[in-house]
């Protein structure tokens, strides 16, 4: 038994145990299992990472070959390089903190064991996704996290709205997953393997850059990534997915699962490098998502929806990075985003927890003195999100924007788009801070946070503030990116200044009162625009009218099952033939003997006919 296999196995075993013993185990035992298994995994990951950093050797482990027919031999096998190490560290590290936080957050929930079994199952599936050495196993993890996301979004299933949100998340991502499955089929038929490294090698040999096949294959993979990572046009599920418990949003819908699409593209980047058209599409998609989601975030009132749109927007930056070929910058932003967004979500969870499940930011206010720990974490988290200088978010976002600038032709446009996004990001993050934590108190907190909430917050504070100095062992994984040293200093200065300007605007509008936001929103155009953005650019309505309505209309048309006539006739034919056949089984020996003789005669007759 390889110690690598323990990393996903521990949470998996714990999930199964919790599922079986949910009714019998005390909350204490459940918490020990649930948190402990992820903690142990994190320790093993730490030692694996230590090994990797000292030796720099790629580790592989094949547990067993699942099946072997002709040249199709999918294995249960792991491939651990720098990228995997980064992902595993984020998943188990941040995952452990969120599990610990959940113990207090979910304390009074009657389905405590169910919660932890789903969470552990999620961690196991996510680890499988990033550790897999072949795309089939990756797909298993990919679907596994999808199922867990469904289960956790609909965790409080007694409210039908939560069930609807879970279903939406599942169905919308399924569109992407289908594209991805088609992509896998195409890769297998064309290149004859699904093992990632040989696959990329084969693609480099057999495919010419810019050909139809690489573009088609990568476009299909991109479809999967777009669905999972909530990018345009499949992002609509993520804001609704906030129906789940807040730690779930932190773990699945901010830190890990939604970045799986980024991981997939980074993992198979050699394929994407063969398809410049897809790369460009990724970059444009990224920028469009950044802007669209940032404006939507600006108009939200629900604290979790603000963060949800912000997540979509930040993943847009990662896609921008991937699209311009700055893979390590994308993964870097993935990591820092995991820190500060998990921090913000956990902070938001603490606010909601202490404020009688209040989500509306305008009913909060003045929490600066009442919940100091939460205030500190929000301040640091928002600073990192807005990419204020020297926070972790600054380093990662800066390297993405510089990489975009360095791209010939379309580079400056992408850069400008990203910059505008950064301005809006700063405005909406500090709008949130100023409204929730300053001003008049509208609701009094009814409890304070305990250590199980405070400790993860503080650890994440440190990571969000200083995570930008963590070096990532990615140089072996990705091709070297262009040198930024000859970028004009003015470009860098603009990058530093923009978030500060955003902060200033937010201060003037939401705290200082020098600029009145009501003048803007009171005008009919302003009001319309605000509502338009609050509804997420009305894309939900658009999809509803464009896709859901025709579909349900079709379903209504088919209510009387015109199509089923065909299937029903198959059923009645089968029943009829069953009755016919059974009527031959008379139970009479002489009849049985007769059929045997007739059978023999038939065979002999065939022989006689064909004999020469």
């Amino acid at each position: 038994m390889n110690s690598l296999s323990l990393i996903p196995a521990l949470p998996l075993v714990s999930a199964v145990l919790l599922m079986i013993g949910s009714a019998r185990l005390s909350k204490r035992v459940v918490a020990i299992f649930g948190v402990g298994s992820v903690g142990l995994s994190a320790l093993i990951v730490a030692s694996v990472a230590q090994d990797f950093l000292t030796t720099g050797e790629v580790q592989t482990a094949t547990l067993w070959a699942w099946i072997s027919v002709a040249n199709f031999t999918p294995g249960i096998a792991f491939y651990i390089d720098g990228l995997t190490v980064v992902m595993m560290s984020v998943i188990t590290g941040v995952g452990f903190l969120i599990h610990l936080y959940s113990v207090e957050f979910m304390e009074s929930d009657e389905s405590f064991a169910r919660y932890f079994s789903y969470m552990n199952l999620f961690v196991a599936a996510m680890l499988l996704l990033v550790m897999a050495d072949n795309l089939l196993l990756l797909y298993l993890g990919w679907e596994g996290v999808g199922v867990c996301s469904y289960l956790l979004v609909g965790f409080w299933y007694r409210d039908p709205n939560n069930g609807a949100a879970a279903r939406k998340a599942f169905v919308v991502t399924r569109i992407g997953d289908t594209a991805m499955a088609l992509g896998l089929f195409l890769l297998f038929t064309e290149l004859g393997t699904l093992q990632i490294q040989p696959l990329m090698a084969a693609a480099n040999v057999q495919w010419s850059g810019g050909g139809t096949l690489p573009v088609l294959a990568t476009a299909l993979l991109l479809g999967g990534a777009v669905g999972k990572s909530a990018q345009l046009p499949l992002h609509t599920w993520l804001p609704d997915a906030m129906a789940g418990p807040t730690p779930v949003s932190a773990l699945i819908h901010a830190a890990t699962m939604v970045t799986a699409g980024v991981y997939l593209i980074a993992r198979t980047h050699e394929l994407f490098l063969l398809a410049p058209a897809t790369m460009q599409a990724i970059a444009w998609l990224g920028v469009a998502t950044v802007l669209l989601a940032a404006f939507a975030a600006l108009a939200q009132n629900d604290i979790k929806r603000i963060l949800a749109y912000s997540t979509i927007s930040q993943i847009g930056y990662m896609f921008l990075a991937l699209g311009v070929g700055a893979f390590s910058a994308g993964i870097f932003h993935l990591m820092t985003h995991a820190f500060f967004k998990a921090l913000l979500f956990l902070g938001a969870g603490a606010v909601i927890h202490c404020l009688h499940h209040e989500h509306n930011i305008f009913k909060m206010g003045g929490l600066r003195t009442r919940l100091p720990v939460v205030f500190a974490s929000f301040l640091i988290g928002s600073a990192a999100l807005a990419a204020l200088p020297f926070t972790s978010g600054f380093y990662s976002k800066d390297s993405i924007l510089l990489a975009a600038w360095a791209l010939p032709d379309i580079g400056p446009i992408l850069w400008a788009g990203g910059l505008l996004g950064a301005l809006i990001t700063a405005i909406y993050s500090f709008r949130l801070v100023f409204i929730v934590f300053f001003g008049e108190a509208n609701t009094e907190p009814d409890k304070q946070v305990g250590w199980k909430i405070a400790v993860p917050l503080m650890v994440l504070c440190v990571l969000a503030a200083f995570g930008g100095w963590i070096g990532q062992p990615l140089s072996e994984v990705f091709p070297a990116t262009a040198d930024f040293h000859n970028v004009a200093h003015s470009v860098e200065y603009i990058g530093i200044a923009i978030p500060l300007i955003g902060l200033l605007i937010a201060y003037l509008v939401f705290l200082g009162g020098q600029l009145s936001v009501s003048k803007l929103t009171d005008s009919s155009l302003g009001k319309a625009l605000q509502n338009f953005w609050r509804d997420g650019w009305r894309l939900d309505a658009l999809y509803h009218n464009l896709l859901v309505r025709p579909f349900t209309g079709l379903a209504r048309l088919c209510r009387n099952e015109p199509v089923d006539i065909f299937y029903n006739s198959i059923v009645s034919f089968l029943r009829w033939s069953h009755r016919g056949l059974v009527s031959l089984q008379t139970g009479e020996l002489r009849w049985y003997a007769t059929t045997m003789v007739f059978g023999l005669l038939l065979l002999v007759a065939i022989m006689l006919r064909n004999a020469s």
């Binding site: 059974v582 020996l589 003997a593 002999v604 065939i606 004999a611 020469s612």
Partner: protein, 485 residues
């Protein structure tokens, strides 16, 4: 015959010695505990003896028997299946009939016959093994003689089986007349010079196929199957459906390979016809059955239809290794699964209520009442239906991939239609088992000894293991089949 020859026959010798010992023991003192222990010990000893027997393989022991790895693997399978049947039968018999000792003797003898079939390299040994197995089975079917049904089943099986054997013997005679030999490999040399349209030879082989097809219950020689399974005691029906068929199929494959009958394309076409008929009619007949034993009987007709596809695929030399490998894997998976499915019926029939002929409504709510046994049935049914992670899936996947590589689209189409019908009646049992029933009054009282639970877990584990980590067994089969081919 030297000591190495005897070593190669070790499983057969062990079984024969064990049968003699059992007979003497029963003659001296009736003691059911001792008898059943001796029988299980004999079967397990025979299984273990494979290890030593393997050291002298492969070799011909007289022209009649060939001790090679294939024979040994299937002897082991039959002995283990016999042992499992014997263990599951104990409670069943204790609550029925007053003198059940000879049951175990017959079981050992029948297993001996099955092993002889696995060894057979000559039509004479084929007949010997077949009759030894069948005659013991006639008696086993009628063993609990209190009711009319088992007796009726036994008589039906006896008469029809006799007719089938007679047909087969006539085929042997014609074959001897054409080739002058009954030994498989010697026959191959003679057949090589015979025109593929030779009428005597074609009629002879089709008569033998009829005889063996009866045992495999291929349509249209399948009529006896539901009545006999229904009447037979549940453990015997399980044994008949698994070992009784696997042994016949092994010898059929051996004969086809060793004598290279694949040359006669019209014969292969006939087999393809039987396969298609079996797949469609078997599944069609099982569709609405409410008697689980009859349902399993028809399903076995369909499974044998799937299985003989490999003979058709094997007629193409290029795909023969893969086809035979697929067939052998299918047999092992099918044996384990069938023993498990009938095992549940045995366990449910074993209690004091002496319920026979378990119906669908008898198992409704089984999941809430007997979760372990319900899991056994669930795994067995999923495996029969060919759902992934079970033995049946891997077996079917293998079978289909070999047929695809050979481009047998009509057979594959029938297989697909048949399998999709199959899902319906297999899952129907699962639906019944998961029903919430207020009163579990329908469920017959089941055996609940430790040993039954242990056997249940073992069977579940083996089906799942065959489905999850099939690779090592496949590779082993591949290596031994290279020697056979």
């Amino acid at each position: 015959m030297n000591i190495d020859d005897l070593q190669g026959l070790l499983p057969l010798l062990t079984l024969a010695a064990g049968a003699t010992a059992l007979m003497l023991q029963i003659a001296f003192a009736r003691n059911i505990k001792l008898t059943s222990f001796l029988a299980v010990a004999t079967l397990l000893a025979a299984t273990l003896s494979i290890v030593w027997a393997g050291e002298s393989a492969p070799r011909f022991v007289t022209p009649l028997l060939r001790a090679d790895k294939l024979a040994l693997v299937f002897s082991a399978l039959f002995c283990v299946a016999g042992a499992v049947t014997a263990i599951l039968s104990m409670d069943y018999l204790n609550n029925r009939g007053d003198e059940p000792e000879e049951y175990f003797l017959l079981l050992v003898l029948s297993t001996l016959g099955a092993c002889v079939l696995a060894y057979a390299s000559h039509l004479a040994s084929l007949l010997l093994g077949l009759e030894l197995m069948s005659v013991s089975l006639y008696a086993l079917i009628a063993y609990p003689d209190k009711t009319k049904l088992p007796l009726e089943a036994a008589i039906k099986y006896l008469v029809l089986s006799g007719a089938a054997s007679a047909t087969m013997l006539f085929g042997f005679a014609l074959l001897y007349a054409t080739t002058g030999t009954l030994q498989f490999s010697a026959m191959a040399q003679q057949l090589a010079n015979i025109d593929t349209g030779n009428i005597t030879l074609l009629v002879a082989s089709v008569m033998i196929v009829t005889g063996l097809g009866f045992k495999l219950s291929l349509v249209p020689f399948h009529m006896w199957t539901p009545d006999v399974y229904d009447g037979a005691p549940a453990p015997v029906a399980g044994y008949l459906a698994s070992v009784g068929k696997a042994a016949v199929f092994v010898v059929l494959v051996r004969w086809f390979i060793a004598s290279n009958l694949f040359r006669f394309s019209i014969l292969i076409d006939c087999i393809a016809l039987l396969a298609i008929l079996s797949m469609l009619a078997g599944n069609g007949l099982a569709l609405l059955q409410t008697n689980i034993k009859r349902m399993l009987a028809y399903s076995s007709v369909a499974h044998m239809g799937y299985l003989v596809i490999i003979l058709v695929v094997g007629s193409d030399l290029a795909h023969r290794p893969l086809a035979i490998e697929a067939g052998m894997y299918y047999l092992i998976a099918y044996t384990a699964t069938t023993i498990a499915a009938f095992g549940l019926l045995t366990l449910l029939s074993a209690g004091k209520s002496q319920k026979e002929n378990i119906q669908l409504h008898d198992v409704s709510g089984l999941f809430w009442h007997q979760p372990l046994y319900a899991c056994l049935m669930l795994v067995a049914l999923l495996s029969l239906a060919g759902i992934p992670l079970t033995a049946g899936f891997v077996a079917k996947f293998y079978l289909i991939s070999s047929a695809v590589s050979d481009g047998r689209w009509i057979l594959l189409g029938s297989l697909a239609i048949g399998s999709s019908i199959g899902i319906y009646y297999y899952l129907r049992v699962v639906f019944y088992m998961t029903r919430r029933v207020e009163e579990h009054k329908n469920i017959p009282e089941a055996a609940h000894g430790l040993i039954e639970k242990f056997m249940t877990c073992t069977l579940i584990a083996s089906i799942l293991l065959l489905g999850i980590v099939p690779q090592s067994l496949m590779e082993y089969l591949r290596s031994i089949l290279q020697l056979v081919n």
